[in-house]
């Protein structure tokens, strides 16, 4: 019996739950403007999130997936990416998407039951939300393959959850990323729950980062509530990918502070104590403490920033609510590049019916 292979999984954290530095901080942490920019985005996302939930509760939005508690992970991912990289989200990465130019009104339009929400004005080559779990991981792998074929120095990034890391498509992406040395970063945002299924029922693995080993690629676990750690791991992984040195799995450990979606009630399956404990580690307060302690931020600035954020989101909500429904015929117009004869007949009938009914 001899040992033929050895592996290690590293854990990266810069700011602990008490916002204290653990070892030397990365350069981002010293860049006041940049950190404030990202903090403001995290705050904006949180304002957006609670507004969206309120809209849902009052019947003005469909089912909505909250991102409460994921702000550092999502913004950290976005901040490390370049515009020409490709992003393939699951369904709650508003922080990443807004950073990349997706508008809150677009996000609302989608959850409001209107496909036009996915016709992003910016980030036009990014994927829309991928409801079938982890299928986006293979789109990102395909995008990465396209970069490789075209010798384009960009990377593709996908995000899935702890649940999503059990899925065939995740493993397939991992496998081909290693086999083909793809410029891909697979981020597993491990928020401990997949709806009601706890992390330990998803996998017997000690870490989700170690799944990387199965594909022969690098894996790292980071504190997903630490913006600096997420950003740094992403930055390293992206540079490696763009340089043609292969793929990385990043497990960002965080916690879903909300229900799974507005259609869920987490009290059915989750202990209050667990939630409370997790609240103590949440990313926004942590970063604010860091800013406060640095003397970069005070309560007045916080209040002003929140005021501005609310005003900005109100405009977005207004834009969403005042968007008229698509005409009935629109549902036929994007099935093929050119409508087929058969669909043209169906379209005419549907439009006539709606007209007759005065819709």
């Amino acid at each position: 019996m001899s040992i033929i292979a050895r592996f290690e999984i590293e854990y990266l954290q810069y700011l602990n739950a008490d916002a204290q530095a653990v070892g030397e901080l990365p350069s981002l942490a010293h860049d006041r403007e940049r950190v404030l920019e990202l903090y403001k985005l995290m705050s904006l996302v949180r304002v957006f999130d609670s507004k969206a939930i309120a809209l849902q509760r009052t019947g003005k939005l469909g089912t909505y997936a909250s991102c409460l508690g994921h702000e550092a992970a999502h913004v950290g991912i976005g901040a490390a990416m370049q515009p020409d990289d490709v992003f393939a989200p699951m369904y709650r990465e508003y922080g990443t998407q807004i950073y990349r130019g997706v508008q809150p009104r677009e996000i609302l339009l989608y959850w409001g039951g209107d496909e036009r929400g996915n016709d992003y004005a910016n980030a036009r080559h990014d994927y829309a939300w991928s409801v079938p779990i982890s299928t986006q991981c293979l789109h990102a792998a395909g995008a990465a393959l396209a970069f490789k074929i075209r010798k384009q120095a960009n990377a593709a990034v996908c995000v899935c959850g702890d649940g999503g890391s059990s899925k065939a498509d995740f493993y397939g992406a991992l496998n081909v990323a290693g086999a083909q040395q793809l410029p891909l970063v697979l981020v597993v945002v491990n928020n401990q729950w997949a709806i009601s299924v706890p992390r330990h029922l998803q996998s017997g693995a000690q870490t989700l980062a170690q799944k990387a080993i199965a594909g022969g690629i690098q894996g790292i676990q980071v504190d997903g509530n630490d913006l600096f750690a997420v950003h740094e791991a992403m930055d390293v992984a992206l540079k490696k990918a763009r340089a043609g040195q292969g793929a990385t799995v990043i497990e960002a450990v965080t916690y879903r502070l909300s229900d799974h979606t507005t259609a869920d009630d987490a009290r059915r399956y989750r202990e209050d104590a667990e939630l409370e404990e997790a609240m103590g580690k949440e990313p926004l307060i942590r970063l604010r403490r860091y800013l406060n302690e640095k003397g970069w931020w005070d309560d007045q600035q916080e209040a002003e920033m929140l005021h501005a954020a609310r005003a900005e989101i109100d405009i977005e909500v207004e834009a969403y609510l005042s968007t008229p429904r698509q005409p009935v015929g629109a549902m036929f117009d994007y099935t093929y590049a050119e409508i087929t004869d058969e669909l043209a007949v169906q379209r005419a009938a549907a439009v006539a019916l709606a007209e007759r009914a005065g819709r």
């Binding site: 469909g62 079938p132 059990s166 709806i195 009601s196 059915r268």
Partner: protein
């Protein structure tokens, strides 16, 4: 006698059979403590334990393959796909193995299993939560495909599905999960898996449908009765094997047939019913067959979804059209 909704009748049937038959197990995502995202398996894990009500990892391929493995080794697994739109990764194990174990081994290994999934549109759900993809399964030899449309039929047919020695695809019309209650005695009485149910008799036209659309068809019958048109409404219920005889018998009487379903029209279960009519009932028909179905597009997100689903208006138009022939 308990008054139950359709989904409560599903739960009652699951509990009944788990209690009677220790080989019955339930598996899927969130079926345990949470009792399923629609609450169909609520209480089962508390009652029968986490070894018989299993929260699986989030991978439909895994769920399907495990189910085949369990079924071929003496268990009677009831797997859940959380929505019909997430059933696609299960198709490989269903088509290649569940349907063929008996065939492949000349009966040595068999695959008694039920694959349950909420099905169909109309609940203002996100993308992929509103599909009607039953036609993918009715084309596969070796399967039974069942869609109940009332609490009592859900109870009786599900018991039959669980007891059936072959694989059954079982879709639950989620739009009518809680539409109304019905007395559903917990008597363990199964309903037959190979007959259509004639829900309303009528002399003028036969309306054939299944799932949530039964509701619209019955409403259409009320509406048209006021115009003096009496339609016969047939709930197919078991889509495979198809009880064409009941449909044919009705068409012999009415001479007209309107097929109503929410799946896209092209290559759907309605196509097969129309084809059978074209083959076997041509001389019984006074009017051409009429299909009122989903359009051949992906079902739109919810702001437009009711424009997509067959409505009372569209069904009534369809019936009036065939009534134009005499």
């Amino acid at each position: 006698m308990p008054a139950l909704t359709l989904i409560e009748a599903v739960t009652q049937a699951l509990a009944y059979e788990m209690d009677k038959d220790p080989s019955v197990v339930v598996l899927g995502e969130d079926v345990g403590v949470n009792g399923g995202v629609f609450r169909a398996t609520v209480g089962l894990q508390a009652r029968f334990g986490s070894e018989r009500v299993i929260d699986t990892p989030l991978d439909e391929t895994t769920i399907a393959g495990l189910t085949v493995g369990l079924a071929t080794q003496g268990m009677k697994p009831i797997a859940e796909a959380q929505f019909e739109g997430f059933i696609y990764p299960m198709i490989d194990q269903i088509a290649c193995h569940a349907t063929r174990m008996r065939h492949r081994t000349r009966g040595r290994l068999t695959c008694p299993m039920v694959l349950r999934a909420p099905w169909g549109g109309g609940i203002r759900a996100p993308e992929h939560h509103s599909e009607a993809n039953e036609a993918l399964f009715t084309h596969m030899p070796g399967l039974r495909v069942v869609i109940p449309s009332s609490p009592s039929r859900a109870y009786g047919l599900l018991l039959a599905a669980i007891r059936d020695p072959d694989p059954v695809i079982w879709f639950e019309p989620k739009r009518i999960y809680r539409q109304y209650k019905e007395d559903v005695p917990d008597d363990g009485e199964a309903l037959p898996l190979d007959v259509c149910f004639v829900l309303r008799e009528g002399r003028d036209a036969t309306v054939v449908t299944w799932g949530a659309q039964v509701k619209e068809c019955l409403e259409t019958a009320e509406l048209l009765a006021k115009e003096g048109i009496e339609i016969e409404v047939i709930d197919v219920a078991t889509l495979k094997p198809l009880d064409f005889d009941t449909i044919h018998e009705s068409v012999r009487k009415t001479g007209r047939c309107v097929i109503v379903h929410e799946a896209p029209r092209n290559g759907a279960v309605g196509s097969e019913i129309a084809a059978r009519l074209a083959e076997e009932a041509m001389f019984d028909l006074i009017a051409p067959v009429k299909r009122v179905a989903g359009y051949d597009i992906p079902i739109p997100l919810f702001r437009l979804e009711m424009e997509y689903l067959p409505s009372v208006e569209r069904i009534a138009d369809g019936v009036r059209e065939v009534m134009g022939y005499r």
